[in-house]
């Protein structure tokens, strides 16, 4: 038992959510240790703490038996840890060699010995059997090549611990094979690897042991050869049903005719052959794990991306959605997951935030003089309906809690009288109380006849809120589940995870394949 890294009692709190709760586990020297969990389980946060980008609120990190304080990226590097993040830490306009050796450029008294720099880099590339030109500009590399540069950087620091955060998220099969080889090389050098992923195949191919995180807590650490994929998936998702996720038996889940139909939507590099139907009054969930590109599908429906081929049919008529304004005109509305940067207007009041998407309702042509009376009426009506707590309508939106802000954004969508509502992570970063209010709101909206397409990482939401759920795996539809399905295609945690990891493909009877 040669423990190189010991994590004890790490806790990290963010506004409104506890990302990590007393997480402890050991990592042995030289092993490949996988860290798995659903979206939001806390994996990335833990890695950022080890990498020095965040600092834990409580807890200790022990490396090689010595307690280590990691207060910044340099500390982390010095302790022998290298992290390869999903968003690479590379400088686009520098060459590969410059990026790798940025803080250790060879040469005397400020002069860079370019020849030596490129030689050192070539050696490194050679060692790792990579085919990347040291003088190539990083901005011109493919994603996979950039990742290899990051790995090379880690190797060049002689790091004893290399952490990889979802490394295969944007790689094709051939590139994944190269990654496997690199990991093998690292192993042979005695490097310890922490590998974050949710892709079962890789986890079982590569890792020696697996630690499972769920909702910020450590569930357990297991030897890879002593656990099956099914068991692992159970551990990742299984939880006690909490009382406030009540089932929707009592609400009538009558769904009407098809309001939106998507046919054979394809976009190279993102999604392929996406076809589904959205019915009036139904809540359709879009499930999948990080990197499956379901966000891109939703964005395409709102004009933020354009598909290479395929059609979108609204109420029987094919439509072209080039910009969000087009979508809104077609009564499709979108609620972003990035509240802070794409949702709220931070320096404006609650009322202004509410009505910004329906300016044509409070003034002539969307540009004329504002009818404040009409605006106040709308504001009162919708803030009452959604039970938004605020001091006064003109209050700065930033002073509202996250939950109330989200409600404002939802109300903004409702004001547009949309037929189709696309929601991206509607309850992210929101406390429990507000969440349940939003859930009942959504059910009411569906009952009113609005068709809702919902992307969420919370499996419970998919299970209890959605009438149907489509699961995306690597850009294609890997499963279609129905709530309360009599067959085996019910929306359950297991089914969702099986489809999301590509393990199985489950379709309810009658679902189009």
């Amino acid at each position: 038992m040669d423990t190189i890294l010991k994590i004890s009692g790490i806790t990290k709190q963010f506004p409104g959510v506890k990302a990590l709760d007393n997480v402890s586990f050991d990592v042995e020297r030289g092993e490949v240790h996988a860290v798995v969990g659903e979206n939001g389980a806390g994996k990335s946060t833990l890695m950022k703490i080890l990498g020095g980008l965040y600092s834990a609120d409580f807890g200790e990190i022990t490396i090689n038996g010595k307690k280590t304080a990691i207060r910044g990226v340099l500390d982390s590097l010095k302790s022998g840890i290298s992290v390869i993040y999903q968003e690479f830490n590379l400088v686009p306009m520098l060459t590969v060699a410059e990026n790798i050796f940025l803080t250790r450029l060879p040469g005397k008294s400020g002069v860079v010995n370019r020849k030596k720099l490129n030689e050192k880099c070539s050696e490194l590339m050679h060692e790792l059997r990579l085919d990347i030109n040291p003088s190539a500009m990083v901005s011109e590399l493919s994603v996979s090549e950039m990742q290899m540069v990051e790995i090379a950087k880690a190797v060049s620091f002689d790091s004893s611990i290399v952490i990889m955060d979802e490394p295969t998220a944007s790689l094709n099969d051939k590139e994944v094979a190269t990654l496997y080889r690199l990991i093998d090389d690292l192993k042979r050098r005695g490097t310890t690897i922490l590998y974050i992923s949710h892709r079962m195949k890789e986890i079982f191919d590569l890792s020696d042991r697996i630690t499972v995180l769920r909702d910020g807590c450590k569930i357990g650490t297991y030897n890879t050869n002593e656990i099956t994929e099914e068991e692992l998936i159970h551990k990742m998702v299984g939880r006690d049903i909490t009382k406030f996720y009540h089932s929707n038996d009592d609400e009538s889940s009558e769904t009407g005719e098809v309001v939106l139909e998507v046919k054979q939507l394809c976009k190279e590099g993102f999604y392929k052959d996406i076809s589904f139907q959205l019915h009036r009054g139904e809540i359709l969930g879009l499930g999948g794990l990080m990197g499956c590109h379901r966000e891109e599908i939703a964005k395409t429906l709102f004009g933020l991306m354009h598909p290479d081929s395929g059609t979108i049919v609204l109420n029987g008529k094919p439509i072209q959605i080039d910009t969000p304004a087009d979508a809104i005109r077609n009564r499709i509305m979108f609620s972003t997951d990035d509240r802070k940067n794409e949702g709220i207007l931070p320096d404006m009041g609650v009322d202004e935030n509410l009505t910004i998407a329906v300016l044509n309702k409070i003034c002539k042509g969307g540009n004329g003089l504002i009818h404040y009376k009409t605006e106040s009426a709308f504001v009162k009506e919708y803030t009452d309906y959604m039970q938004i707590k605020y001091a006064s309508p003109s209050q700065h939106i930033l002073h509202l809690s996250g939950g109330n802000q989200q409600k404002v954004l939802l109300a903004r969508s409702l004001l547009t009288d949309c037929e189709v509502l696309i929601l991206m992570e509607p309850t992210r970063g929101i406390d429990v109380g507000a969440k349940s209010e939003i859930y009942s709101m959504l059910r009411q909206l569906a009952a009113r006849g609005i068709a809702i397409l919902m992307i969420t990482s919370e499996t419970q939401e998919l299970i209890t809120l959605c009438d149907r759920a489509i699961v995306i795996y690597q850009g294609t539809i890997s499963g279609a589940l129905k709530s309360n399905d009599s067959g085996s295609a019910a929306i359950t945690e297991d089914n969702l995870m099986f489809c999301a990891t590509g393990n199985k493909h489950i379709f309810y009877e009658g679902a189009k394949q």
């Binding site: 306009m93 520098l94 940025l102 860079v112």
Partner: protein
């Protein structure tokens, strides 16, 4: 698309060549005579020298609007050094350089410590330095015709080539070497390309910013010294368009406004292009102001061409 890639690589050189040929065609032998070409080089010296500093500033993601005023201030400082303080040519030059370093520190301080956006900060210092010039000269011009040694800076020749051209060549080569072959050069490009990643990696971004501003100030001072040496008058109205001329040459030469990619050789060719134009206007006896129009149009043209790729891809995604 391939044409665009080609343009990005050699556009400015091709354009300069084109203008050169046009001038030759229109003006004949008078244009390509050694005398005239040396004349052109002399004319562009000042802008090239100042622009070397600006290349570093823009590449690091910042901007410096104040070099025009620093240029002006230099002529006054030198005048005071020569006439009132009587510290001779060398003394005055050293004094001016010190003043330049101070100006650079002021610029750096405003941007780094007071967190004022570079455009506004250097806009303020442009005004401030101009004010200081007026103040210390009391609005009057300072004449220093009698200082022979100082005059030599601009009128002397070595091996038949005027001193300013030598200075320009040395600084140009030095700038290029620093940009390409020193740690500082790499850091400047890193800061301009992605300042936050650079900072996390442990590079002293603040220090880089300060050094860049000191660079631009000092180079502006050198330009000012040469100019003062030529005109032999310390006047508060010199350098009105210096800042803009330099920025134009830098951007025309292929340095990206956003930072991360500088092009010193390109800048030289851009200055050459603008120099050819001015020369042509002179020889055709056209007034000086025609250059404004042509410079403006060429700049706009170069900018549009530079963005063409983005434009054509705009509809995707």
């Amino acid at each position: 698309m391939k044409f665009l890639k080609l343009w990005e690589k050699i556009g400015i050189y091709g354009l300069t060549l084109f203008v050169f040929l046009v001038c030759w065609a229109l003006l004949g032998e008078n244009f390509v005579s050694a005398y005239n070409l040396m004349n052109v080089l002399m004319q562009i010296c000042l802008v090239v020298i100042g622009s070397v500093g600006i290349v570093f500033v823009i590449t690091s993601g910042l901007i410096d609007m104040s070099i025009g005023s620093i240029y002006t201030l230099t002529s006054i400082v030198v005048g005071i050094g020569l006439t009132k303080l009587n510290i001779g040519t060398v003394g005055s030059v050293v004094l001016a350089l010190l003043v330049g370093v101070c100006c650079g520190l002021v610029n750096g301080g405003l941007v780094v410590y007071m967190k004022i956006p570079p455009f506004v900060a250097t806009l303020s210092t442009m005004l401030a330095f101009k004010g200081v010039s007026y103040l210390i000269s009391s609005g009057k011009d300072i004449m220093y015709i009698s200082h022979e040694s100082f005059k030599m800076i601009s009128s002397g020749t070595i091996l038949g080539i005027p001193n300013p051209v030598w200075i320009m060549a040395i600084l140009l080569i030095a700038g290029y070497l620093v940009y390409k072959y020193t740690r500082f050069g790499v850091y400047v490009r890193a800061c301009g390309s992605n300042a936050s990643v650079t900072k996390i990696s442990g590079i002293p971004v603040k220090r880089v910013y300060f050094l860049c501003y000191i660079c631009s100030s000092v180079f502006a001072v050198i330009g000012g010294i040469i100019s003062a040496s030529r005109t032999l008058i310390g006047t508060s109205t010199a350098g009105a368009t210096y800042g803009i001329d330099c920025i134009c040459a830098v951007v025309l030469g292929g340095t990206l406004m956003a930072g991360g990619k500088g092009n010193i050789i390109g800048m030289f060719f851009a200055a050459l292009l603008l120099g050819f134009m001015k020369n042509m206007l002179n020889m055709l006896n056209l007034e000086f102001y025609y250059q404004y129009v042509i410079t403006g149009f060429i700049l706009v043209f170069a900018l549009v061409m530079g963005n063409l790729r983005e434009l054509l891809q705009a509809r995707k995604v």
